[in-house]
């Protein structure tokens, strides 16, 4: 049986354009700044219909034991992440380049406080 279209539905009826779009709330990533922390740290994720509710859900899920003083919620879809499978290309080139670290260099004589 084919899906009813809007004009086939009697008055007052609703047909979602794509039910899948509305059946699941979007995913949000949660960042919490703890009472002793200087920066927001990724705490986890949650589902919420919109930013205001995401913030409230974050408060319930991630700060209920007095962990936080500040919360950020970010739509997970808005995060551009590096490809976990391409880790080699991204990060390994830093290995073996010890000259990028200060400890590679010997301290010059007569230079104090270095």
């Amino acid at each position: 049986m084919s899906k009813p279209t809007t004009d086939q539905v009697p008055d007052g009826g609703v047909v979602a354009e794509d039910p899948a779009d509305h059946s699941v709330w979007p995913l949000w990533e949660v960042f919490v700044r703890s009472s002793r922390g200087l920066s927001h740290v990724h705490a986890g994720s949650l589902h919420a219909p919109d930013p205001a509710m995401a913030l409230r859900n974050a408060r319930d899920l991630y700060t209920r034991r007095n962990e936080g003083t500040s919360l950020w919620v970010v739509p997970a879809a808005e995060i551009t992440a590096s490809d976990p499978d391409a880790k080699g290309g991204y990060f390994e080139s830093a290995q073996g380049k010890s000259y990028r670290h200060a400890t590679y260099y010997t301290q010059s004589e007569g230079v104090p406080h270095l």
Partner: protein
């Protein structure tokens, strides 16, 4: 307030702490002692929170999303916390513990309002019930912090911040359900209609509350009406819904009479404690 009662600030150096909130155990060990009328008043306040907590707990695993399970569960636990304070304090007048009062009183000994006893219904009805109760409770505690009874004032001070969040939670959902689909809007309006008959009972000047209000211990229920109803009207207008025009249900005047639902709620709430008195785990 809390210093006057000798409550200790419980904040610690650990990341997870109870903050500076007082606990029912501290309330008891601080030697708070309620007189008969004050205890009866505390019982009215405590029973509302206890029954509503029990009702809300039923949503766990049944809410529309996991996140909402947790939100409603948190609110239920906050309310249970308030009930513990009020019942512990009430119990000091009769040599009873909070558990004695919660689990071993009969149906007609409870003083809860009919509003909090109403069935959960669908999510919208639960939100409607939450909305009314949290607006009422917020206004009540906002005033009760000035009570001449230091213990009631300290409990109200702790509860106020929590019910402010409950108010916000219900308000956010009211706006979203009203502004969602035709179906959600219709259900939200139906939810309001379903609970509205039980709003008026909250403002009845019953005994011993009315007398205690005269001495500054209690808040006169009828004096809460204006602010509560204005707050609700403002939000319902904002949501584009109609203020229900429903005849008030016959109230029980906090005497324990006239409740269809209470017995069923207590059966579930009390069965474990009664089947295994004193059980711990």
């Amino acid at each position: 307030m809390s210093e006057a009662l000798g409550f200790t600030a419980a904040d610690s150096a650990t990341r997870i702490s109870a903050g500076e909130a007082i606990t029912p155990e501290e309330l008891r060990s601080a030697g708070a002692q309620a007189d008969e009328d004050t205890a009866r008043y505390a019982l009215i306040l405590g029973d509302d929170s206890l029954i509503l907590a029990q009702r809300l707990g039923h949503w766990i695993s049944r809410a529309p999303e996991l996140e909402e399970d947790i939100a409603l569960g948190n609110i239920a636990l906050d309310l249970l916390g308030h009930a513990r304070f009020f019942l512990t304090y009430a119990g000091t007048a009769w040599g009873k513990t909070e558990d004695d009062l919660a689990y071993f009183r009969e149906e007609d000994e409870f003083r809860s309002a009919r509003l909090v006893e109403q069935d959960n219904g669908d999510f919208a009805k639960t939100i409607a019930r939450q909305l009314v109760f949290s607006f009422y409770a917020h206004e009540l505690y906002r005033r009760l912090v000035d009570s001449s009874d230091q213990t009631l004032a300290a409990i109200a001070d702790k509860a106020l911040k929590e019910v402010a969040y409950h108010q916000d939670h219900a308000g956010q959902w009211l706006l979203r359900l009203a502004g969602g689909t035709d179906e959600s809007r219709q259900r939200m309006q139906a939810g309001l209609e379903a609970v509205w008959a039980y709003v008026e009972e909250l403002f009845a000047d019953v005994e011993p509350t009315a007398e205690l209000a005269g001495t500054g211990v209690a808040v006169l229920p009828s004096s809460l009406r204006e602010n509560v109803m204005n707050g609700l009207r403002h939000l319902i207008d904002q949501a584009g819904l109609e203020m229900p025009d429903v005849k008030a249900a016959f109230g029980a005047d906090r005497t324990g009479r006239f409740s269809e639902q209470r017995g069923h709620i207590l059966t579930e709430m009390q069965v474990l404690a009664r089947r295994h008195p004193g059980a711990t785990w």
